[in-house]
């Protein structure tokens, strides 16, 4: 069962992630008085991209290899997670640092690809992405450390489920921080700064085409779903039923609700500038530190 759980993780995420993008697009369209594409459109987009040509405009191996590495790191991160609060076989050989490591690696590969493309817009996008990562990864780490502090174990299952063990000051403070950071984690308006279509033409993604681009889009979809999942399974773990299927079903519904929230915020905000965003992230980081401090105190 523990081996199967790894595959369930992967299949669940791979199947659902594009659908969530469809939800986002449809809702955004409604807010904008448009009809919007059908919910299954992202699947078609991915399929179509897979059938197109890879242009190697960077002309080096780092550029062509980056999307595969980024995608597989993301899959590795997803394979580790306790989907319904149950540890899988990989839990023996991993902890929360492994998860953070894989997530960061995935983003790092995208940066390498962007810089290797040699495009000045991709370079600007990469530098923005880098600044964002430096500021946001610690916020994610703080969340997991909060759970770790509660249960006194470095295992990922403990870190995730530990967040909601007791719901005191630190729990609510961290929940606020996470909700405020959510839009930045999933890189939607007002924090789609690294892509910023009208400014830097999708930044890091600019030079990519065909299957490589499909992989990068898929990675982004998975990343977004991961952060929605983490919100549910850490902060709301106490309402998830013990039954595996019921738990999965409820999680799916809640993840969709999170995406509704993301779409609403995204459609009602203009983009921030990177200097404005960095100030905002700094505030989040300080709040997250305070939350962990409270947890250590047992509040």
């Amino acid at each position: 069962m523990k081996v199967v759980a790894v595959f369930i993780n992967l299949i669940y995420f791979l199947l659902l992630a594009p659908f969530l993008e469809g939800v986002m697009r449809k809702l955004t369209a409604w807010i904008q008085s448009r009809k919007g594409p059908p919910l299954y459109q992202p699947y078609l987009d991915l399929l179509k991209l897979l059938g197109k040509e890879n242009l190697n405009s960077g002309g080096n191996w780092a550029y062509s290899l980056a999307p595969v590495l980024s995608f597989s790191s993301m899959l590795a991160a997803i394979a580790l997670i306790p989907l319904t609060g149950q540890a899988n076989i990989l839990a023996h050989s991993s902890d929360l640092m492994t998860l953070i490591y894989f997530l960061t690696l995935s983003g790092f590969c995208l940066l390498v690809g962007a810089l290797a493309s040699g495009n000045p817009f991709a370079a600007v996008g990469a530098s923005r992405e880098m600044m964002t990562t430096v500021m946001l990864e610690p916020v994610l780490a703080m969340l997991l450390i909060l759970g770790t502090v509660r249960i006194s174990s470095f295992s990922l299952t403990a870190a995730v489920s530990g967040v909601a063990v007791s719901r005191g000051v630190s729990y609510f403070l961290m929940l606020v921080v996470y909700l405020l950071a959510l839009q930045a984690f999933v890189a939607r308006q007002p924090f789609d700064i690294a892509e910023a279509e009208v400014e830097i033409l999708e930044g890091p993604y600019m030079e990519y085409s065909g299957p490589n681009y499909a992989l990068l889009r898929y990675t982004l979809n998975l990343k977004r779903m991961f952060y929605a999942w983490l919100l549910i399974s850490s902060f709301l773990s106490f309402i998830l039923p013990a039954n595996f299927f019921l738990s999965l079903l409820l999680q799916t519904v809640l993840i969709i609700v999170v995406f509704v929230l993301i779409s609403l915020i995204g459609a009602t905000h203009p983009r921030f500038r990177i200097d404005q965003a960095l100030k905002y992230y700094a505030l989040l980081l300080i709040l997250a530190l305070i939350a962990v401090g409270c947890a250590v105190k047992g509040w």
């Binding site: 955004t28 008085s33 000045p120 007002p190 203009p270 200097d275």
Partner: protein, 563 residues
């Protein structure tokens, strides 16, 4: 003594023998001929008297054996007066003194005729190629009369525009020739240090269609309004009305009042659609697509209205010299009123959502700031100038069509930034609606059934000058017409509002963040094809073929290693 006579006397006294002649067909226009030695002095006198520089017009007056001419036009906004000074030089010595050292806004007007007429401007600080493509051969000046309008010199390979030196320590981000935030071809080489803009060089004029040359060689008076309308896909009516007014002024034609009201209505309908379009684009440029979609949804009603009135969503084809072609009767008036009521309600809802949105404030307030003094120095026009506290509006200052009979407020803001232009444009939407309502009332109450256009019996006399301004959605558009033989003007010059505004963009960009580039450029609502209209002939590539994948990859890498 009127302001016009005052100026005339002043110039006569100051210039003495250099003053040649003055003519004034209309109350509010003054055309002065001077010797070229006195060009700088005259311009100086006018600027000291409080003029605003508009544009330069160069042309070859060879038909009468007179050489090359340069006209500079000035506006006295407080006195509803437009002044044009003209100087001539011989073909052997094609040189004028440059006005640019003390009127920076004249820079492009003069560079244009370095390219197109082979003129030289003494003391011009930056006589770089402006209009012609980089591979255009030296020594062929398209606006000279011996050059045919369809001349197509062979394309040269390996010729590229040379950018000026970038400031030390900065790198270049190329916005253009094609970029998602520019809706037409234009190239801004932006010098950045990190994310901060340290300077910018503009290379435009990539969409020349040679319209002015075409008008001087191929078209007739009454064909030009339809071509003029196609100068711009957004404010076409502005150009056709403006051209018609310039010809009417030059030939002393008085058109029916009813036609003037209909022209006013169409101009304001155009302003409505243009401002709503801008609002949407501005939203898009700061990453707020909901504003984009909602503004364009509202705009669509205006487009449908225009279609029911004229048969077209855009490019109305309403204007001919001497009047208009289609009537706005009572049924159509009802339709306009109904649509405007809906639009007004929708705009109010949208305005409410925008005006108080803190995140929009964060992206627009203090962004693209330019002081009032700078704005004056660059001769900015339209909402871009009004957002900087300059209270100018051609509709009020130089009334044309039926604007003398309608009441409206000229909206001015003093924040000097992108936010100011946004506020001005939104408020102007309501003013445009007010103006249309007043026009409809007057049409219904006293102008029913009067003719739409006058019959023109006599040929239009040659050698007359006409100058007309129209307040386009983007600002004042100026047309200059010199009537000619063969039923066509000898020279017709168009100066779109983007022409002066664009020249000030590098100043607006300075020390802003790279992320603000799109909205700063967008804030002048640039209309590139209006600005680029002059020159000649598109360059056809030597042979059309499709690059293979490997070639494309190779090419893009080579381009990269060059930069």
């Amino acid at each position: 003594m009127s302001r016009k006579d005052e100026l005339l006397n002043l110039l006569k006294d100051e210039l003495k023998g250099n003053f040649l002649a003055a003519s004034s067909l209309e109350e509010n226009r003054l055309f002065i001929d001077i010797k070229k030695e006195a060009l700088v002095e005259t311009a100086n006198q006018l600027m000291r008297a409080g003029a605003r520089y508009q544009m330069g017009v160069g042309y070859e007056a060879r038909k009468n054996g007179r050489g090359l001419a340069m006209v500079h036009t000035f506006a006295f906004d407080a006195d509803s007066l437009l002044v044009a000074i003209r100087a001539l030089t011989t073909e052997d010595e094609p040189e004028f003194d440059s006005l640019t050292p003390f009127i920076p806004g004249a820079g492009w007007s003069e560079r244009e005729y370095i390219d197109l007429l082979g003129l030289h401007f003494k003391n011009h600080p930056h006589p770089k190629r402006l209009v012609l493509s980089d591979d255009w051969p030296e020594g062929i000046y398209p606006l000279r009369q011996e050059v045919p309008y369809d001349l197509m010199p062979p394309a040269a390979e390996e010729v590229a525009f040379r950018l000026d030196e970038a400031p030390p320590g900065s790198s270049i981000i190329p916005f253009g020739p094609f970029h998602a935030c520019l809706h037409e071809p234009a190239h801004f080489a932006v010098y950045v240090d990190g994310e901060e803009i340290k300077g910018c060089e503009y290379r435009g004029f990539m969409v020349h269609r040679g319209i002015e040359k075409l008008a001087a060689t191929e078209l007739t008076y009454n064909e030009i309004p339809f071509v003029a309308e196609r100068i711009c896909g957004i404010c076409g009516s502005v150009h056709s009305v403006n051209y018609a007014q310039a010809v009417e002024a030059a030939s002393g034609l008085k058109i029916p009042r009813r036609a003037e009201f209909i022209r006013t209505i169409m101009l304001e309908i155009e302003r409505l659609h243009s401002h709503l379009m801008w609002l949407g684009v501005a939203g898009h440029l700061i990453g707020f697509d909901t504003v984009f979609m909602q503004a364009w949804r509202i705009r669509e009603k205006i487009m449908w209205l225009a279609e029911s009135l004229t048969g077209n969503r855009k490019t109305y084809g309403m204007v001919i010299i001497g009047g208009v072609r289609r009537d706005i009767d009572l049924t159509k008036a009802e339709l306009i009123k109904k649509t405007l009521a809906e639009v007004e309600k929708d705009v109010q809802a949208l305005e409410k959502a925008i005006i108080k949105d803190k995140s929009i404030h964060r992206r627009t307030k203090g962004v693209g700031y330019l002081s009032r003094e700078k704005a004056k120095e660059w001769n900015l026009v339209g909402p871009v100038a009004r957002a900087r506290g300059l209270d100018i509006d051609a509709r009020r200052d130089h009334p044309y069509a039926a604007y003398d009979e309608v009441k409206f407020e000229v909206v001015v803001a003093d924040s000097g930034d992108v936010w100011g232009t946004l506020v001005v444009r939104i408020k102007e939407i309501y003013e445009a609606i007010r103006i249309i309502h007043q026009c409809l009332e007057k049409l219904a109450s006293r102008l029913q059934g009067s003719p739409l256009a006058i019959e023109i019996e006599d040929p239009i006399p040659a050698g007359q000058q006409g100058l007309s301004v129209v307040e386009a959605p983007r600002g004042e558009a100026v047309h200059y017409v010199l009537t000619g033989d063969d039923n066509r003007p000898e020279r017709w010059r168009v100066r779109a509002p983007t022409y002066p505004n664009l020249q000030a963009v590098p100043d607006m960009l300075l020390n802003n963040k790279l992320a603000d580039f799109p909205i700063i450029v967008g804030s002048i609502d640039p209309c590139i094809s209006c600005t680029d209209r002059v020159a000649v002939i598109d360059r056809r590539s030597a042979s059309g073929r499709i690059l293979s994948r490997q070639e494309l990859e190779k090419l893009s890498r080579e381009m990269r290693s060059k930069t």
